[in-house]
């Protein structure tokens, strides 16, 4: 299994902590999924409410490595400052770097992303950049010091799956030794399985589990899907063909005319 900045994950499923009906269901969903990473964020805290303190206590008790994000940041400065705060807050050098370029699609601003990644890698961060399947941007992110790439499958929260399957396959082929994670757009366990089947090292998702009618059951399904997809990739799938090819031997067939 791929190492993410030297760390092996217990499962290639990275699961978000947002949008669940309750904290208890979130914890149960994590348990059912067997997720290897929990993504988290940071937001303004109120001295009176202290809601973040209770959340952090729940996440720590789950005992899963956390990957803080810079969600909602639209500029390099915002993203870099958020990452610095996250490192202190969560006690990790890992940062899921998002520099959002477009409000409706939440498409990453890849130019700002490369710039922010360079700053953060120089400061010792271990950057997980939320990017597109663009190969040149991938190269630039690696040049900036990233050792993981996280292309989107589809827009965040859309549940559309792998919009550009061929582009993602090409990315896998172009960067055979770089841990690659599908981040965003996964809506169904079959999408996650497909990502693993084509050789991705992990998938990151949140809404597909949290907004399911039964988040715990869906979390379990995703855990099974990533395991099945990974096993299938290791098993070396057959090559597709345009024409039929009988699986039952013709030799020995009874002559019945």
């Amino acid at each position: 299994m791929a190492l993410f900045y030297g760390q092996e994950l217990s499962s290639p499923l990275m699961l978000g902590t947002a949008l669940y009906p309750s904290p208890a269901i979130m914890v149960e969903a994590f348990r059912a999924s067997g997720a290897g990473v929990a993504t988290v964020s940071l937001r303004r805290e109120s001295g009176a409410g202290r809601s973040g303190q209770a959340f952090w206590s729940i996440v720590r008790e789950m005992g899963i490595p956390v990957l803080p994000n810079t969600a909602g940041c639209h500029t390099v400065k915002e993203a870099v400052t958020t990452a610095r705060m996250a490192r202190e807050l969560f006690g990790t050098r890992w940062i899921k770097l998002e520099v959002i370029g477009h409000t409706d699609t939440l498409q990453p601003d890849v130019f700002g992303l490369v710039e922010a990644a360079g700053i953060l890698c120089d400061e010792g961060f271990e950057v997980f950049p939320y990017t597109t399947e663009d190969l040149i941007v991938g190269e630039r992110l690696l040049d900036a010091g990233c050792k993981v790439l996280m292309p989107w499958g589809a827009p965040i929260g859309s549940g559309l799956g792998l919009n550009n399957l061929q582009g993602l396959r090409t990315m896998r082929a172009q960067f055979p030794d770089v841990p690659l994670v599908i981040d965003a757009g996964i809506g169904l366990p079959s999408h996650a399985a497909q990502a693993m089947e084509i050789g991705f090292d992990a998938v990151l998702l949140n809404t597909a589990v949290a907004k399911a009618g039964d988040p715990v059951a869906m979390a379990r399904a995703f855990g099974l899907a990533v395991a099945a997809g990974r096993a299938a990739h290791i098993a070396d799938p057959m090559e597709p063909s345009d024409m039929a090819s009988p699986s039952t031997p013709l030799i020995g067939k009874a002559f019945l005319e």
């Binding site: 978000g16 902590t17 947002a18 949008l19 669940y20 979130m26 993504t39 988290v40 964020s41 940071l42 937001r43 303004r44 805290e45 109120s46 001295g47 009176a48 202290r50 809601s51 973040g52 303190q53 959340f55 952090w56 996440v59 803080p68 994000n69 969600a71 400065k77 400052t81 610095r84 705060m85 996250a86 202190e88 807050l89 969560f90 965040i156 929260g157 990151l204 998702l205 949140n206 809404t207």
Partner: protein, 65 residues
């Protein structure tokens, strides 16, 4: 003096970021701070002075995807 705490106007007596956190109810909480858009590490809070109109951001762990 008046500062802007997480986007809202706030009166404080404290002169430093560290003392302001105590005064505003964040004592002992897991929070990170930024002053006027720049990160203030925990170790620098005691030496970081507040001025009238400063923007202080206090953030904590939250749900995220």
């Amino acid at each position: 003096m008046k500062i802007v705490l997480n986007g809202d106007s706030q009166s404080v007596r404290a002169a430093t970021v560290l003392d302001a956190l105590d005064e505003l109810g964040f004592g002992g909480a897991t929070v990170a701070t930024a002053l006027n858009g720049a990160f203030v590490p925990a170790g620098a809070r005691a030496a970081t002075m507040l001025a009238e109109g400063d923007h202080l951001e206090v953030v904590a762990p939250m749900q995220g995807g």
